[in-house]
């Protein structure tokens, strides 16, 4: 399985976990296009925090290495890598590539 697929699967596992804490009407859709921030996002700020912390954990487990996302959570909207779940996967993929010197 490719790294991108493993990251996306881990992200979706985290989404499942967080959906358990949210009322059914507020469940986060498991799609690459799901918006996490900005006007299109259906997730409140607590939901985003919980999701990012869970994604950190699940992706770290899936890749066998530490992935830290929470340091970038307060970046401005233009630079923010958390616009969608798909963008987040790309950000993680990019950051592990950089860190491993690929």
């Amino acid at each position: 399985m490719g790294t991108a697929k493993r990251i996306m699967d881990a992200i979706f596992t985290a989404v499942d976990e967080i959906n358990q804490t949210l009322p059914p009407a507020n469940h986060i859709p498991k799609s690459e296009d799901t918006a996490l921030m900005g006007p299109e996002s259906a997730i409140d700020s607590l939901g985003v925090v919980l999701l990012i912390v869970a994604i950190e954990q699940k992706v770290s487990q899936a890749l066998g290495r530490t992935v830290v996302l929470t340091n970038n959570m307060l970046m401005s909207a233009e630079e923010n890598p958390f616009k969608t779940l798909g963008a987040l996967r790309d950000h993680i993929l990019g950051s592990i590539g950089k860190n491993s010197g690929e």
Partner: protein, 557 residues
């Protein structure tokens, strides 16, 4: 059917949104509402009687804090300053005084005890010495428990269990820094589950009977093949030891008032021999309130057994090592709780310990004596069979009924009767302790509680009747009698006592409006034969004549 509502409040020094999400979303037999006012203001909320949160009365309140969030001197301790134990305990006392100030605002109040994250080093290896952080925190927790001990509706909860279920990640620095949530979401999930079960058990009633299979459930092996000498129980055998421990745990539950019963496909003579002769058998035949040892279908046996015990099927838990039997009982009797049971016999005791269906905030003296009472009941029925009439039986029983007002000593039991009695219950009005106390504040209302005993033993406090006067008319608001004394003329005695009181107050009539439920038909049947005049669902007694006391019953006031 409408669910009973559970109006709840959480006060915390942290963001409790996760707790709230779990608490209101969990599948429950109650309709749950939870108010969560702004966090971080616990002390000011507790000591401000005019705060808007106190405009409401709650069924349940959770006061969940971190020691550093409410005890400022503990914070100084965390910073490495020297703080005398007395200073800490004084502050704990102020905190508990705040809690006591609002104790009447909720039917039950839960206070999870204080914990400290593992990454706080304190004094290292000396931290459990009297100057250490952990030692002082333990003393603070003890002080918390002691100061709140006498409040019957306040309970300290062991929050360690919730954290242990999550493990090393239970404290979450990330969630704390980003959202002021101190714990991993699963800690809140465990807490919500735990507290909800306690609320359900308290308001809807706990399980009362554990029905056990025998072979490979109460002991190892098949007695029909080996005789009592060959079963695995005690001895130098890990499985045998595990079964002894399992029986001990069952015995401890029995001492708390949970009935034990047996339903087993077996030869009765072999089983009796085992109960009598096995030297390491902890549970003996007398420990079981009822036994069905035969080759019949287990579901059929369970129905029969519960009928003998005069309890509804929803009061039963069925434990059997056979997945087939469990599935059969689950399907045939969905009201019976049939927990999954481990194949590993050494885990039986742990599984039993994790069942929360017996936990409640109310364990009355009556609960604790239930097995003894059932033995007395067997003797009464044997006597009844020997006598020609009901009147003769009642006369021979030498029944004495004591009449009491509501007081501190009987409140728990009266509230329990309000909330658990289904059959002989005129209106099935469910009330918390505080709601009942508030209701009785009007001078137009009164309540009488009835204790019953006879020559075989004490039935305990088993009856409640309440009256509301309106001019010269008296309305019987509650008429509640435990099923254990139904049909012994206690019903008539309660009406007699109430009619005397009503006459003294100058009332002219008593009215009882029957509100039907799925289970209170026995109450309607009683009123139909009571001599009260029936019109639609209202039964009326003209007080120009007192309601006579049944013969053979002695009343003490």
């Amino acid at each position: 059917m409408n669910k009973r509502s559970l109006h709840s409040l959480i006060l915390s020094d942290f963001n409790s949104e996760l707790f709230r999400n779990y608490f209101v979303q969990m599948p429950a037999s109650l309709s749950v509402r939870l108010s969560a006012p702004p966090f971080g203001q616990v002390m000011s909320q507790l000591i401000s009687p005019t705060h808007e949160i106190w405009d409401n009365q709650y069924d349940l309140m959770v006061i969940w804090t971190r020691p550093e969030g409410v005890i400022s001197s503990f914070n100084r301790l965390l910073d490495g300053e020297t703080v005398a134990l007395e200073t800490l305990l004084d502050e704990v006392k102020q905190f508990t005084q705040g809690i006591l100030q609002v104790k009447d605002k909720a039917g039950m109040i839960f206070v999870p005890f204080w914990l400290m994250a593992d990454d706080i080093g304190g004094l290292g290896v000396s931290d459990m010495k009297v100057t250490g952080l952990r030692y002082k925190l333990m003393r603070m927790n003890l002080h918390l428990a002691e100061n709140l001990n006498d409040a019957g509706n306040i309970f300290i909860l062991d929050s360690r269990m919730w954290l242990q279920s999550v493990g090393n990640d239970a404290f979450s620095p990330k969630l704390w820094y980003m959202s002021k949530i101190p714990f991993h979401p699963d800690v809140f999930k465990a807490a919500a589950q735990d507290i909800l079960v306690l609320a359900e058990n308290t308001l809807l009633g706990t399980k009362k009977v554990i029905i056990l299979d025998l072979d490979d459930t109460l002991w190892g092996g098949v007695i029909g093949e080996t005789g009592w000498q060959g079963i695995r129980l005690g001895g130098h055998d890990p499985i045998g030891e595990a079964f002894v421990d399992f029986q001990r745990a069952l015995k401890a539950l029995q001492r708390r008032g949970i009935l034990l019963a047996v339903v087993s496909r077996n030869q009765a003579e072999l089983v009796e021999e085992a109960f009598e002769k096995h030297p390491e058998m902890i549970l003996r035949k007398d420990d079981f309130a009822a036994l069905r040892i035969n080759w019949k279908d287990k579901a059929e046996n369970i129905m029969d057994l519960m009928k003998e015990l005069n309890l509804g099927l929803s009061s039963a838990v069925f434990i059997d090592n056979s997945a087939f039997e469990r599935a059969r009982v689950r399907e045939a009797l969905p009201e019976v709780l049939v927990p999954d049971w481990p194949e590993d016999m050494m885990l039986y005791k742990s599984f039993l310990g994790r069942l929360r269906c017996f936990d409640t905030t109310v364990i009355s003296a009556e609960d604790q004596k239930r097995t003894e009472m059932l033995a007395q009941e067997r003797e009464r029925h044997e006597l009844k069979e020997r006598l020609p009439s009901l009147e003769e039986w009642i006369r021979t029983l030498e029944i004495t009924v004591s009449v009491e007002d509501l007081d501190e000593g009987n409140q728990d039991r009266v509230v329990q009767l309000f909330n658990k009695t289904n059959q002989m219950n005129l209106t099935t009005r469910r009330l918390t302790r505080q709601e009942l106390i508030d209701w009785l504040k009007s001078g137009q209302r009164c309540l009488r509680a009835f204790r019953v005993r006879d020559k075989f033993g004490d039935y305990g406090l088993t009856g409640v009747i309440s009256l509301e006067a309106d001019g010269r008319q008296g309305k019987i608001c509650d008429f509640i009698l435990s099923c254990r004394v139904m049909g012994r003329r206690i019903e008539e005695t309660m009406l007699h006592v109430l009619s005397l009181y009503a006459q003294q107050r100058g009332l002219r009539q008593l009215h009882a409006e029957y509100l039907p439920t799925q289970r209170n038909q026995p109450c309607q049947e009683f009123f139909k034969r009571s001599g009260f005049q029936e019109k639609e669902r209202t039964f009326t007694w003209d007080l120009t004549e007192g309601y006579s006391c049944p013969q053979g019953i002695k009343i003490q006031t």
